[in-house]
Assembly symmetry: C2
Homo-oligomer: 130 residues x 2
Amino acid sequence: MPSTTADKKITKGARLRAQLRILLDDEIALGPGKADLLEAIRETGSISAAGKKMSMSYRRAWLLVDAMNRCFKSPLVDTAKGGVDGGGARLSEHGATVLANYRAMEQAVARITDKHFEAIKPLLKKNPVI
Amino acid sequence: MPSTTADKKITKGARLRAQLRILLDDEIALGPGKADLLEAIRETGSISAAGKKMSMSYRRAWLLVDAMNRCFKSPLVDTAKGGVDGGGARLSEHGATVLANYRAMEQAVARITDKHFEAIKPLLKKNPVI
DNA sequence: TCGCAATATATCCATGTAAATATAACGGCG
DNA sequence: CGCCGTTATATTTACATGGATATATTGCGA
């Protein structure tokens, strides 16, 4: 998929990004990308479709799921292979709980940072960056 | 500096990491590493010494300073070349203000996430990870 | 029993990031 | 002037991350 404008992340203006990661030893148990993937799995019903939706390779999507499942007490994603439709993946009850907690924390953080960022934003350059 | 135990970031147990980044267009104006670098510059009086202290290359430290200075209304770091001691770098008044705001925001976020993490931690596996 | 679609897993390879290295330029002072 | 240590900048090299690719496995239904 070629494109004239580099399709990286052409976002403009001043903004704040808060990233929350839950770590277990040296492994990222849950972070922004994994949380989005959990939602995509809930919506699509499979790791491969969720990966496509997020335009990542199946390999990568599977590795993320594997890491999550290994880090938490019980799997966040239940998988099945074979069967009429080849199998699939579902967000487990435990996974839904973890995801909800993570999203709630994100929102609480956003409320705080939004206020603080109002004070910082005027210190940034307005127009020309590069 | 060889080492038997890979000197990556051997931290253990369950914990939460909150990273706050101030973005201007596609550039990171300020983030965790840049904030630490600002403090190291304040303490050491030079980019090169600050880089050493944080065990990063001078090139990398300089690039970070350059990005910060380009993103904010006025430079966070004032530099001087030449002179008796070759020059140096100082945290500007504007830089001190920005850094203080960033640290305050970090602390406010930490207070929030600490509470939320107490609810999430028991959902994680305790002992065996790998 | 075969085919399908998805999980599960290994191997190879491209690419971007940062380190390593090199070199100017600068400006006080002895 | 010539020496320092630092800023400033370009160029090359090493490496880790993830993509591409391939293959085995599973289980239901036609």
